[in-house]
């Protein structure tokens, strides 16, 4: 019971912090002091208080998209275990739901971008869906590998099976982790795939899709993005660093620390790497597919 409440609370409250940590890390790397790690919370509050400006061309799809972005991300979050705690919801095949929830969110975000009728947003939407078709197979190869490893059909079982498998099954897990990392960077539109802080619309992916959102809607978009980052980070953390050995609350604490570490790592990646040319992104994604697929083939011997 407590675990469920804790899970919900963490899922609801923690995500913006990760974003703050990433920004902070980048600032430090850049030698600036940078905004406080709590800045995302302030931004959210500010946005929620603001009014909405709706373009005359938009329809209800435009409003529905941010809502679904949040809802899908949160629901996906309810499927991943946090540390030693089992997720509130776990059942055979929930990994499919996990992946398809994000697809649902993507559908509406892209549709909303087209809804504005702005050339730039259409461009961003095209890139979003145009890259996703390579991240999905990578993710599913990862799931196959984990399922083969664990013999389980639910995310919970899959992610716990990495427990102890690192010793004898190192290579597949490294490959899987690498693939999942690339998937994360792409899905959360991070370097080297996308630069969330750029101001050149022509080069953006995710940010350009939400150019027209404002006020609470923008707030929802930002929050949804944060939750998505959080969830995928949790997934990645489970694959590459099993923390479930430490059971109970300490385990949860340790896991959250791990999440912060991952966030710092992402910050480091972002500040040390340059953004790839858009034409080269698919190559990176294919590399992800191949590494996860190779992991599966190694395991299915």
């Amino acid at each position: 019971m407590w675990s469920v409440i804790a899970h919900a609370a963490v899922l609801a409250l923690l995500p913006p912090l990760l974003g703050g940590v990433v920004t902070k890390t980048k600032a430090l790397f850049a030698g600036r002091r940078g905004p406080s790690v709590w800045q995302p919370y302030f931004d959210l509050v500010k946005l929620l208080r603001k009014g909405v400006a709706l373009s005359a061309t938009t329809t209800w799809v435009f409003v529905l998209a941010p809502v679904l972005a949040v809802v899908t991300a949160v629901m996906a979050g309810l499927l991943v275990p946090l540390g030693s705690f089992a997720p509130p919801v776990a059942f055979a095949g929930d990994f499919v739901l996990f992946a398809y929830l994000f697809a649902l969110g993507r559908f509406f975000t892209a549709a909303a971008a087209l809804d504005t009728g702005s050339p730039f947003e259409g461009m961003g939407a095209a890139r979003e869906v145009g890259f996703a078709w390579l991240t999905e197979p990578a993710l599913f190869f990862a799931f196959l590998a984990l399922a083969r490893l664990s013999g389980s059909l639910s995310l919970d079982g899959m992610l716990r099976a990495t427990e102890g498998a690192w010793l004898q099954r190192t290579a597949p897990l490294v490959l899987t982790a690498a693939g999942v990392l690339i998937v994360l960077l792409t899905e959360c539109s991070r370097m080297p795939v996308d630069d969330p802080t750029t101001h050149l619309e022509l080069t953006m992916i995710h940010e350009v899709m939400v150019l027209d959102h404002s006020g609470p809607l923008l707030g929802l978009v930002e929050y949804g993005a944060a939750v998505k980052l959080f969830v995928l980070e949790a997934l990645l953390l489970h694959v590459m660093a099993p923390t479930a050995r430490v059971t109970g609350w300490p385990g949860l604490a340790l896991f959250l620390l791990g999440l912060l570490a991952v966030a710092i790592g992402i910050g480091a990646v972002e500040s040390t790497m340059a953004r790839l040319r858009l034409l080269h992104v698919p190559t990176l994604l294919i590399a992800a597919v191949l590494s996860c697929g190779f992991a599966f083939l190694l395991l299915s011997r």
């Binding site: 409003v63 809502v67 649902l104 892209a110 050339p119 095209a126 145009g130």
Partner: protein
């Protein structure tokens, strides 16, 4: 027990009523409004009868059979019903009746004087013949119903016989269809030659040799696969669906293709002891169909051609399920069989529902704007909101996204595939799972393009600007289908018993091991769907007031053009450029014909860029082969130029050949034709 006989008689009556629904209209004058009305009401009546019959069959009342003497000596025309037939017959009645209602408003006699009556007659005939296809249990009867279906389909495709495009599409369809029928003739003849009569019942393992069984399976797969539109055999499909009236396209894509699937499923259940290679073969074809077809769909501009390609993709998904079931059958794994076939069958229903919904929507778009070109539409969501909403629901469903029905069937297939992965031994059978994932993501891209291109943004043409909402008679059928999609998606448990019975019929016996509910999280799906809807509703209500206020404050606010003020509809990202990022990756398969612009000098003159994605198999493989064949055949003509002496010499030559060389010839022919 009377129930089985009752179910069968209901289904037969339904078939007859449907087949005859268009006949009264033929006797009336084309201008009379009663022809369509009578046809529609007869179709609805027949469909109600049929639905009752399906309900009984799927409800588990035992199977019955009737038989009449047939033209084949010792053969009989057998009609029988079982859960499998009922399962495939149901979409006929649902989509058929809704389509006829839609047609009342979509194809009124006033607008189509010449072909309305023929259209309605063939439409009824198509529905009736498909019903009998599912009921027939002997080769001759099956082929008769099959050909009736194919020919009525041909006349429906060529409804607008004056347009060259429709005639060409129809001829292509007819040629493919006849090739398929000949393969089926071979299939049934082979079964009969080894299994005895033409009756279509499961053969005993020893009854047919391994080689013969494989040849039979391939014949059936090609013959039925042509109708189903499996990937290398699909070339007739896009043109035909684009040429036919929309409610006909809905029936063809939603129901007629499924007759092909039914054939493959039935054949696979009739042939004994499938080797594992069959399953692998079907999985491969299914995977290729799904992935490549959706890529082709992304390349299309014509809305209905796009939907046709997406039908091929869904057929691919269905085949994945079937292939999994076959693998499970040869590996002796009931859970694989259950999940695979359940996914296959449920996706048949689902695709029937959302694809006909989408075709109805496409019809409404064409009806309102007079074009099917996605580059000329746009901004319809504000002019025809109801259509837009229903179309959006259909798009979400066909992408297999929760909480709608497409997700459920794909989940079954995924579960089965992953079960093969966690089973000990080689896990090659799981490889289609990532392919299916990529397909799903591409489907999202494709239908975002469709919905965005047609309904979102601003109108790209004057016609789209003056579009009008469709009449209720066209909206109501779409609404019914949308509700059905939602119900199947939210409560898949409703379909579980029917699915299990159908699977039991296919396997020949109730499967051991856990039930479908035990294998797939049906309950969790329902709760998840409920939660998703509830959360969305709450959050939407939360932000709605703010949006209202925003609208009221600034009703005429333009979109933020990143500082560029002079926005024009032509500046919008077009559907084609939206898809370009993906289609470029698939250029090796799509082979787009591109005419790049010539840009030179510092200030290049205005240039135009053209790109067109045809059907590679047709344009690059079949048509060249056909041309070469014609050229080779024409070379024979020079031997027949009207010279009598030459003709007499042929006779002498024939004698010489047959007489003087009769021994070597004998040997040659002997090696060729056997004893």
């Amino acid at each position: 027990m009377r129930a089985p006989g009752l179910a069968l008689s209901l289904l037969i009556a339904a078939g007859c009523v449907l087949a005859a629904s268009g006949v009264p209209g033929l006797l009336l004058r084309w201008r009379s409004l009663w022809g369509p009305r009578i046809a529609a009401s007869a179709t609805v009546l027949g469909s109600l009868l049929g639905l009752a019959g399906c309900a009984l069959v799927l409800g588990g009342s035992g199977a019955a059979a009737v038989s009449l003497p047939s033209a084949v000596p010792g053969g009989r025309l057998v009609l029988a019903d079982d859960a499998l037939s009922g399962f495939f017959a149901l979409p006929v009645f649902v989509v058929g009746s809704l389509g006829s209602l839609y047609g009342l408003a979509y194809w009124p006699p006033a607008e189509h004087p010449r072909n309305g009556r023929r259209l309605r007659f063939c439409y009824g005939l198509l529905l009736g013949s498909i019903t009998f296809v599912t009921l027939a249990r002997d080769g001759v009867g099956f082929l008769v119903a099959w050909e009736a279906m194919a020919l009525s389909g041909y006349f429906l495709v060529t409804t607008d016989a004056r347009s060259r495009e429709a005639r060409r599409a129809g001829w292509l369809y007819l040629l493919f269809s006849h090739a398929g029928t000949l393969c089926l003739v071979g299939f049934f003849a082979l079964l009969a030659s080894s299994g005895g009569g033409f009756a279509l019942h499961a053969l005993a393992p020893g009854q047919i040799g391994r080689g013969a069984a494989t040849v039979a399976f391939l014949l059936a797969f090609v013959g039925f696969g042509i109708k189903a539109g499996a990937m290398p055999l699909h070339s007739w499909l896009p043109a035909a669906h684009a040429a036919a009236p929309s409610h006909v396209s809905a029936v063809m894509s939603g129901v007629m293709l499924k007759a092909g699937i039914y054939g493959i499923v039935r054949a696979a259940s009739v042939l004994p002891a499938p080797p594992v290679s069959w399953g692998a073969f079907v999985l491969t074809v299914g995977g290729c169909s799904a992935l490549l077809a959706i890529a082709f769909a992304l390349g299309q501009r014509d809305l209905k051609r796009l939907l046709a390609y997406s039908s091929i993709e869904n057929v691919g998904i269905i085949l994945l399920g079937l292939g999994l079931a076959l693998v499970g059958r040869s590996a002796g794994r009931p859970d694989w069989v259950m999940l695979g076939l359940a996914g296959c069958l449920l996706h048949v229903w689902n695709h029937a529902l959302f694809k006909s919904l989408l075709f109805f929507g496409a019809g409404s778009v064409a009806h309102a704007t007079g074009t099917r070109d996605l580059e000329l539409t746009g901004g319809l969501a504000r002019r025809m909101p109801a259509t837009a909403g229903l179309f959006l629901l259909g798009s979400v469903a066909i992408c297999g996204l929760p909480p709608l029905n497409g997700f459920v069937s794909e989940l079954f297939v995924y579960l089965g595939l992953v079960r093969t992965a966690i089973a000990p031994g080689p896990a090659w059978a799981a490889l289609p799972a990532p392919v299916l994932a990529a397909t799903g993501a591409l489907a999202v891209a494709c239908f975002v393009k469709v919905f965005g291109g047609a309904f979102l943004g601003t109108a790209r043409s004057a016609a789209a600007g003056e579009a009008h909402e469709s009449p209720p008679l066209m909206l109501a059928p779409m609404a019914v289908l949308a509700v059905a999609c939602a119900v199947l998606g939210a409560a898949p448990g409703l379909a579980a018993p029917a699915l299990e019975r159908a699977v039991a019929v296919w396997a020949g016996h109730p499967l051991p091991g856990p039930s479908l509910a035990g294998l797939a999280p049906l309950g969790r799906i329902s709760t998840g769907a409920a939660a998703l809807l509830a959360a969305t509703a709450l959050l939407t209500l939360a932000v709605l007031p703010a949006c209202r206020r925003g609208r009221r404050r600034a009703p005429e606010l333009p979109t933020w053009g990143c500082g560029y003020a002079g926005g024009s509809p032509r500046l919008q990202y077009t559907a084609s450029s939206f898809a370009q990022l993906v289609t470029a990756r698939f250029a090796w398969a799509l082979r787009p014909r591109e005419r790049p612009p010539r840009l030179d000098g510092l200030f290049p003159a205005p240039a135009r860029f053209e790109s067109h994605v045809g059907d590679s198999v047709l344009d690059r493989v079949l048509l060249p082969r056909a041309r070469r064949l014609r050229k080779t055949a024409a070379r024979l003509r020079i031997y027949q130029q009207g010279d009598l002496q030459q003709y007499v010499l042929y006779i002498v030559a024939a004698i010489a050949l047959l007489l003087l060389f009769n021994l070597p010839l004998n040997w040659l022919v002997g090696t060729l034709c056997g004893p």
